[in-house]
């Protein structure tokens, strides 16, 4: 019984790939639901499986995708951010103002992103360093920055956006793929890989798993939390950049209520609101799933009043599927 004697044989190992676990993974469940939805949609409407419609769905959800990435990070780390919708609008208005002032495209974009950094630092500082409740804090900053949007824009919708800027969003530089789609895919892949593999980004999952354990494990919890909110706000601000480029205008009411829509999608994609569980890919699939459901309802001209019933039921079914498949596994 010397110390070097190991009995690794008793420590069962997955031996490479764990298929069972993969099968029950949330991403796959949502993936399957997307597939089923898509098949159903194809049968229900001849227009569903057309390039134009697919492109429409993908471009339509691009802003929510970008916002969803940031929200995944915040939710995973055990927080919540309700101010994302306001940040989208704030960034949009700041960019429009920058163009009004005759600034160049890169500077206007930078100004928009800076607005994101400001909100992120405010949120993060209050939550991480002062220790305030994230829900209330970001509800407060959501209100404050929406007001800032009204004050900055004077309530007007602004539309003096240079055509070359609009072309950025609506063009297709790469293999004929719309630029927006390329941007979104790149962001998703980058952030998914980072959250999964990068030593720094992985700390968010530890933080969300147990803040106390993270603190005791020597993670600089406060700084990490702050950074989470900053990343989330900067991504939301990027969403604002895209809004302006796509619509060619900055409307002060832009993205009202977006926060709840995106949080829903992220949770459908497997993120826990209590932190510690969730992936960027899952969140993206969640957004895609809800976008598809919407698409079907509109394509088939379901009455607006019944659309709410349908999408509410789908939402519940989405979490139900998870509950049924993983019954007994968690509890």
């Amino acid at each position: 019984m010397t110390l070097s004697q190991t009995n690794t044989d008793r420590l069962g190992d997955a031996g490479g790939f764990d298929f069972k676990r993969l099968l029950l993974s949330r991403e796959l469940i949502v993936g399957v639901m997307i597939l089923i939805t898509a098949i159903a949609a194809t049968m229900l409407s001849p227009y569903f499986l057309t390039t134009a419609n697919i492109k429409n769905v993908v471009i339509g959800m691009s802003i929510e995708m970008i916002v969803a990435i940031g929200l995944t990070i915040v939710l995973l780390s055990g927080g919540i951010d309700l101010s994302v919708g306001s940040v989208v609008a704030l960034s949009a208005v700041v960019i429009a103002l920058a163009f009004n002032a005759g600034l160049s495209i890169p500077i206007a974009i930078a100004a928009g992103l800076c607005a994101g950094v400001v909100v992120g630092v405010v949120n993060g500082y209050l939550i991480a360093y002062v220790g305030l409740n994230p829900l209330i804090t970001t509800l407060g900053t959501m209100t404050i920055f929406r007001s800032a949007v009204y004050i900055l824009s004077g309530g007007y919708a602004m539309s003096s956006i240079p055509g070359s800027f609009k072309a950025l969003a609506n063009g297709d530089l790469l293999f004929g793929l719309p630029n927006l789609v390329v941007l979104v895919v790149v962001l998703i892949v980058l952030f998914h890989m980072a959250m999964w593999q990068n030593v720094w980004f992985r700390k968010f999952a530890f933080l969300g798993g147990s803040e106390m354990a993270a603190l005791r494990a020597g993670i600089n919890v406060k700084r990490l939390k702050l950074m989470g909110y900053v990343i989330c706000s900067v991504l939301a601000a990027l969403g604002g950049v895209v809004v302006v480029a796509r619509l060619g205008s900055a409307f002060p009411n832009t993205a009202t209520g977006m926060e709840l829509r995106v949080i829903t999608a992220v949770i459908v994609g497997g993120c826990s609101i209590y932190g510690g569980r969730g992936t960027v890919l899952g969140a993206a699939l969640g957004v895609l799933f809800l976008a598809l459901v919407n698409n079907i309802l509109v394509l088939n001209a379901v009455s607006v009043y019944w659309q709410g019933v349908a999408s509410g039921c789908v939402l519940i079914l989405a979490v139900l599927s998870d509950a049924i498949i993983n019954r007994g596994k968690r509890s």
Partner: protein, 251 residues
């Protein structure tokens, strides 16, 4: 033979939580390459004392010196940077993660080559090292890649021990490491403490079982109601005199 150096010296540590005075001026010293046992009845303040050393609590009064230098830890992060690693009594594991993630939490291994550039972690290496670490305790763990929330009490404790043993560079603090362990596993952990000593580390171990203390520790500090009651030098398991002295102090 020169007098041994003090790795840790705490003087006049006081700590209160609201109206409750938990530590009332405790002095504490740990020598280089020593296994020190901290004893005392429940609620004596042992855990609180070592938490002030590991940076989890900040003392209301008193000094802490590490290797002769005055320090003041704001967070566990800073204590860890000074080579102090702690197993807390409540373990503080990440319930939603597996053994490897728990062992490497906050200090994950970055792979080589292109992975290094991207800061990508090396899961396989981590899993292997984690397996190695827990297997030292002869613990029976069915699947190493399972969430630790499913583990038995003893299995959880071994994961926590593996973690501290892997990361301690100067001082390892163990708050009741064998409380949930079986006879065989306890023996392994006592062995492990000896190994740590042989690697030139100092160990502070809190234990209620005096027999086990006698087996591994060279010195015992006994606490009572937030004060230091006394110190006993120990000379192996057969030292009845010291044993009785400790029992007397505890009662």
């Amino acid at each position: 033979m020169t007098a041994p150096n003090k790795v840790v010296e705490m003087t006049g540590i006081e700590k209160r939580f609201g109206p409750v005075e938990v530590l009332r001026g405790v002095d504490f010293e740990l020598y280089e390459n020593e296994v020190l046992a901290l004893l005392g009845d429940n609620g004596a303040g042992k855990s609180t004392l070592i938490k002030t050393l590991s940076g989890y609590y900040q003392p209301d009064a008193g000094q802490i010196q590490i290797g002769g230098q005055a320090v003041s830890f704001g967070t566990p992060h800073e204590a860890r940077d000074h080579g102090i690693e702690t197993i807390y009594q409540d373990l503080a594991l990440f319930d939603n993660l597996d053994v490897a993630a728990n062992v490497f939490a906050g200090k994950e291994k970055v792979g080589g080559g292109w992975r290094k550039m991207l800061g990508f972690v090396d899961r396989k290496a981590m899993r292997n090292e984690a397996r190695e670490a827990v297997s030292q305790m002869a613990i029976n763990i069915p699947r190493i890649d399972q969430e630790v929330s499913a583990f038995s009490g003893g299995q959880r404790q071994c994961v926590a021990i593996a973690k501290s043993v892997m990361w301690g560079r100067k001082v390892v603090i163990m708050d009741e490491p064998t409380a949930a362990l079986g006879v065989r596993e306890t023996g392994k952990v006592l062995d492990l403490i000896r190994t740590l000593k042989s690697h030139n580390l100092s160990v502070i171990v809190i234990m209620h079982n005096i027999e086990h203390v006698m087996e591994v520790a060279e010195r015992a500090i006994v606490m009572r109601s937030g004060t230091r009651r006394g110190t006993v030098n120990l000379n192996g398991p057969q030292d009845r005199e010291s044993h009785d002295e400790i029992v007397k102090m505890l009662m």
